[in-house]
Symmetry: C2
Subunit: 485 residues, 2 copies
Amino acid sequence: LFSNEEIMKMSVLQEINPNVRNMKPLEYSILAGRLSQIKEELRQGVKKPYQEVLDVYMGDPHKGGVKPLSFVRQVLAACLYPQLVNSSKLPADVRQRAQRLLGRCDGGSVGSYTATRGIPETLIRVSEFITRRDGGVPSNPENIFLSPGSQWSLSILHVLLNPESSPRNGVLSPVPCHNTTTMSVTGLGAVVVPYYLSEEQGWELQVEELHRAMESAKGVCNPIALYIVNPGNPDGHVQSRKSMQEVIRFVSERKLFLLADEVYQDYVFGENSEFVSYKRVLSEMGPPLSDTVELASFHSASKGWMGECGLRTGYMELVNLDPAVMKHIFTMFSTDTCAPVLGQIALDLMLNPPQPGEPSYPLYHMETQNIKNTLAGNGKRAVEVVNSLPGLCCQPLEGGAFAFPKVYLPPSFIQKAKEAGLEPDTFYCSRLLDEAGLLVGPGTEYGQKEGTYHIRFCILTSAEIMEEVLTRLTCFHKQFMKDFS
Amino acid sequence: LFSNEEIMKMSVLQEINPNVRNMKPLEYSILAGRLSQIKEELRQGVKKPYQEVLDVYMGDPHKGGVKPLSFVRQVLAACLYPQLVNSSKLPADVRQRAQRLLGRCDGGSVGSYTATRGIPETLIRVSEFITRRDGGVPSNPENIFLSPGSQWSLSILHVLLNPESSPRNGVLSPVPCHNTTTMSVTGLGAVVVPYYLSEEQGWELQVEELHRAMESAKGVCNPIALYIVNPGNPDGHVQSRKSMQEVIRFVSERKLFLLADEVYQDYVFGENSEFVSYKRVLSEMGPPLSDTVELASFHSASKGWMGECGLRTGYMELVNLDPAVMKHIFTMFSTDTCAPVLGQIALDLMLNPPQPGEPSYPLYHMETQNIKNTLAGNGKRAVEVVNSLPGLCCQPLEGGAFAFPKVYLPPSFIQKAKEAGLEPDTFYCSRLLDEAGLLVGPGTEYGQKEGTYHIRFCILTSAEIMEEVLTRLTCFHKQFMKDFS
Ligand SMILES: Cc1ncc(COP(=O)(O)O)c(C=O)c1O
Ligand SMILES: Cc1ncc(COP(=O)(O)O)c(C=O)c1O
């Protein structure tokens, strides 16, 4: 019929979606390749100055030595294999919880699909949590969507972004920013409009900068949404109420949909810092704002004290959306059936932990207090150590799971990076990985002011691993400064 | 600043993505509303001719009374809560499996993120399974992507479909078809080009019909992919090798990407039916076809004998894709981090079940044989009973998890449906639900030839539930025929 060559030429996929083509691959893929090589070399007995790699690239507490919460794991195991539970010595409240949760699953099995937005009773539990958290501001279960990871919830953008609009739609996004969000925006054919957080002011969001970003979009795109991460990833800043009020007035004036990524809401340890949700601040500002500003807020079972990233479940709460639009959002989400059921259950447990007086409370309390204290301790320690090193400088950390210090890279090193075909900070990370067996993320991955360089590492680890991370960073960086100055 | 009204008028979301707007909501949402009302009424003690609703709308075995596989649940529970296992009486192979699988998780926890495409060793296990299944045709782990549900794998379409192309891209899709696929295609801005399966020939796919469909697209859209479900959902047909060869030649000539939804590959019970994968047939056809036809094949942990729909994990294998395109696909999938880890593990177990001689084998074998026999028995029984009823007619079932009989609806009933504002078969299903407490799907949901009507129900249930489903359907339908003729 056709020759081999003719058929090759016809390949459909020479013309892929240009928006997907525009997505910048993660810098992580460069480093991950090197990581597996090193792991393989270590397995084969190649001598290195370290016995294993420490990987603190992602915000992944269990990988970093934080132990899962016993209560959570017991209930989940009991839901999966009820027989096992009957024959064992699990606390009474674990059994009761498991029984109650299983009763909400069709056929009494976590192996059944659930309703699209999630198990109805779990949606009620989530909305009750939100109301409690926000000092009584009502939350309607109908506005809550569970999803396979809070990142996935961002597909709400697929509803908001019109691929045919001209000029293109835009989304205001912070610099630095959680990396995959900006990728998703690009993939959906919208323009990322950067607004810069002020490093010198501890990564504060300044409303004048939002105005500047908005101006910069003129003639380029039509911004329709503002994305905010609070507490910040990677920056570790926690917004003040006043700053949030300014943001709310800004989005209202500019007719922007507010996407509030609040997955780190539990991780606040700055002395004068406090997490307040955008929904609460919006409600406190009263009408007309509280009735009109359109808001999506995200949270995730990957975070909180249990840090169950592998279960892949998050929730999104939508506020002030037109009921007609809600119908379309529901229809869109219904193609994916539902979020993982064990993740839905874990989310329920995260938002409704054991209470004083219940058998599991003492252990649960101890375990979570431990993690809480460790996180705060790690944050303090990381800033201290990093700031004691020449050419490294970290703003005070108030919350979140990361440190994001600025790193000074000498011109001779930048030249070497260019020769290696890598971004300068990616090159720094790649050397750190090779020489010290420590994997951290380069600032390029998250965005940074032109001419500045950063690294990001997770601080939600065990205290021992944090110490080891800082030791390796210290050794490497001191040698690095010697070599390049 | 602004009046309430002014702000209302500015709402961003009056202009949502027109592709999302074009997605037709599931008929299910109409029936689900009624379903929860009825459940509530039953709870409040309202007298009805039934004590509880039987819901066989979805292909959800556990909901339909099929028991989870002990081996699968034991290993998963052991992975979640290793302590529990040590203190209990789980079979040795379960413990070993759990240990081995946990060893592949970062930090030894199913709560850690995995690599984007999945746990590397699990990808190898999947490719080994594929090679075994296909009689030695090689499979490369690099071409495998695990995802939160095989439905989600269809976001591969996001790479293939160019939202800016003019004319629009099209996807040839069967009628009837797995419902959410056509929704996804629409949501991505492409045109669904229907090709009709031939009901009279047991829902055979006829290649002339593909040519007709292709002609019908002229001037409307530019078809770039062909979607096939084999074994069929909802139709229960299993394709012959000959038919598959014809399809492969067709996609090659027409430069179409082949999307083979093979999630029901285990469910084949027709006497002369056999599942053969598209990849295998393609390979057997030799070059140039075997080197050039671009193929994506889907499978899912929701199916197989374990039927773990709630864990939400499937895999996609890509064949013959350009490496440059693969990179973009990887980048796109990397925004969602990874598939649920327990689902990844379940998929591993599904494709690598206990072997003869291992402690768990006898129970595993008994449980799966049981489900296998029940499915075949249910299929036979459903066709028998349905075909004994006037005005109902079901083609022989060869595979899959559903029966999709044609139902004759009298004109007077169609008139009533119009008055109720419902599709005639949705109205039929709604009456069946109300009067007999039985929830099945209307043909409208899946597509059907104009002027014909169908219902779909799951046959992967326990034998008792199947009997009860058929009894309720029989009673209702007999009365229905009396009332309307
Ligand atoms: C700001 C932010 N949002 C969302 C996510 C994704 O969380 P999930 O695991 O729920 O997808 C992360 C993960 O690190 C994050 O940092
Ligand atoms: C043909 C077909 N493909 C895909 C799926 C989705 O399976 P999953 O649960 O993996 O999303 C189904 C579910 O019923 C199906 O029938």
